[in-house]
Subunit: 354 residues, 2 copies
């Protein structure tokens, strides 16, 4: 319960590429909305450096130790996208900073809401965030030059807590319906365990209806007008959650429109679901990067720290601004607005009466 | 080269649920189109029993030995959907018959075309079909009651042959563009290997442009009007291929509209991409099951055995019939056609001049 804290500390780390730009835009919105509390010394918004790819390469670690120390002094974190090296990049092979933060701060629930009112879509994805196919990172093995092996891991505790998070939300929100997504017909041991535990957890929520689907057909059903609006709450293993939330975000208007909450018992981190778009920086277009999903992350943070009313207002304002931008683009009057201008426009809109 | 055979043997196995119904419908179309060759003794269409879930449970094997023997006497196979037991089914834990057939007949390339002319979509997916996350089946391990592990496997040979299949097709078809899909930023060892080998293979095809995408953002890009029509050929590990082809099929009109070719050096098997829909059988609606994707599989088989002209005609006829049905449904005059009636209608349409 954050209201009991003397002072709530919010860390902001910009990340790589367009990250620092859109984080800065989003931070302005955050500071505007919490201005009273900041002035009263009840909230501090703090910059956390050192999550850049250059710094990480220097110390050859996903998150430098001193940065991790700073992060752990915060209660909640707003994080810009970070670059994860892959084959062919100029960087050596370092683990994803995203994934490292999720694991080290034990942020086990990755929550991603997607809503498209005009299509009757109101989904909330509960993605398991610390294990599954993300467990081993670089620790798969090349048995020989000709045989590579990776692992997928599911623990009872890790599986149960994400399922409870989904069922809890379904119950409290009144959605009362959970779809558990696996590929248990093939990935029998880990996904089978996921489904097993779902069955057990579901018994504690007799008022919540639930069913299970395979991940493949689910990607089709999200597009099926006869079925998609029936879905409400999804609970899924890490990798399926990663894959399907990008599809869902695109239905909502693009990966640039979706925010992501990473919640643990002790810490919480909020971020965009898209990447760091280094190409925009290279081309000198970073200041035009769309901060929408970072501002969405701010709204999720506000809700999480108990500022429910402010979160609602911000969500509404964001919606208005996105619709307005869309209309301008559709009518050929491309705004060419910078992220800073967009953030300003959101702040103006928040101030208007409902 | 099938034209050198004395007699081409085509095996038809119905599978479970609606499988035998739609296989029978599709078989009629096949036999109509190959009537001359069948009469001349150049082609034999042969029924293969024993791929039912009841029989598989009896012998506790994904494919009974005698059935496998019969299958191996065929050159090409038309296969109806089969039921794969999962947790909660009345069946014990048997491997998927689908996956077993792909592995035992070494059908390494799962090829799935998706086309939506009015959206400019002309995609062909080359899904690796014998390893990846499908390699171990039930052989994952429960280390303790609280820890389950599955494996993902990539071999050099297995990876290289699917990539070559994709690049070969891109070159020969004139598509000249390949997108390799992985999650190599996270699944570093196996997907990293996939990407490594892609780089190597690509060097042998200097005329083919290629790029690589992560599976998550790819599910978004398939829906992006500004990007999707640029894609042509995809090459992907087994699980990503499974997941994304259902999404792609839905864009085309539903998983019921897509066929799937499973090609190896020695055998080839053609199937629908959807499941056995046991519910339709329970509700007595099996004869209304839509045989469209099985007939699509027939068209792919015809192309594969060198009957290119007949394949083209069938594809066109299928298109006309699907459009006609869609129009009837849209105007509220639901045909309520049975699969048998639909097959008859396709046969009539094939006979019309172009
Ligand atoms: C950037 C990447 C490591 C990350 C993930 O795979 O989880 C991203 O795709 C996401 O969904 O947050
Ligand atoms: C039925 C199932 C085993 C199969 C798969 O997972 O490959 C199916 O989904 C497919 O895509 O052909």
């Amino acid at each position: 319960d954050y209201s009991k804290l003397d002072k709530l500390i919010i860390g902001v780390c910009g990340g790589d590429g367009i990250g620092p730009y859109i984080c800065n835009d989003a931070r302005k919105v955050l500071e505007f909305l919490l201005a009273d509390k900041i002035a009263a010394g009840k909230v501090e918004v703090r910059n956390i450096d050192g999550l850049t790819i250059e710094r990480r390469v220097e110390v050859m670690k996903a998150i430098p130790d001193d940065t991790m120390e700073e992060l752990k002094k915060c209660h909640v974190i707003l994080k810009g996208p970070t670059t994860t090296p892959k084959k062919g990049d100029p960087w050596p092979n370092i683990e994803s900073a995203n994934v490292a933060m999720r694991k080290e701060l034990d942020l086990f629930a990755n929550i991603r809401p997607v809503s498209v009112p005009e299509l009757g879509i109101n989904w909330r994805f509960f993605r398991e965030n610390t294990e599954g196919s993300y467990a081993v990172g670089s620790n798969g093995i090349n048995v020989t030059d000709d045989l590579a092996i990776d692992y997928c891991v599911a623990t009872t505790q890790g599986t149960e807590r994400i399922l409870r998070a989904g069922f809890d939300y379904a119950k409290k929100s009144g959605a009362n319906y959970v779809s558990v997504i696996t590929k248990a017909n093939i990935i029998k041991t880990t996904d089978g365990k996921f489904l097993n535990i779902a069955e057990k957890v579901a018994k504690d929520y007799p008022e919540v209806r639930w069913d299970d689907w395979f991940i493949d057909i689910t990607t089709a059903k999200l597009l099926d007008p006869a079925r998609r609006s029936a879905f409400r709450v999804f609970v899924l293993p890490n990798l399926y959650g990663d894959i399907i939330t990008d599809e869902a975000a695109q239905i909502q208007g693009g990966v640039g429109t979706a925010g992501s909450a990473n919640i643990g018992k002790r810490y919480a981190m909020f971020e965009a679901i898209h990447g760091s778009a280094p190409r925009m920086v290279d081309e000198g277009r970073a200041k035009y990067a769309d901060p929408c999903s970072m501002i969405k992350a701010v709204a999720m943070m506000l809700e999480h720290i108990g500022e429910v009313e402010k979160a609602r207002k911000l969500d509404m304002a964001l919606d208005v601004c996105v619709q307005f931008e869309k209309r301008l683009v559709m009518t050929g009057r491309d705004t060419g607005a910078t992220g800073e201008e967009f953030a300003k426009y959101v702040i103006e809109t928040v101030q208007r009466p409902d």
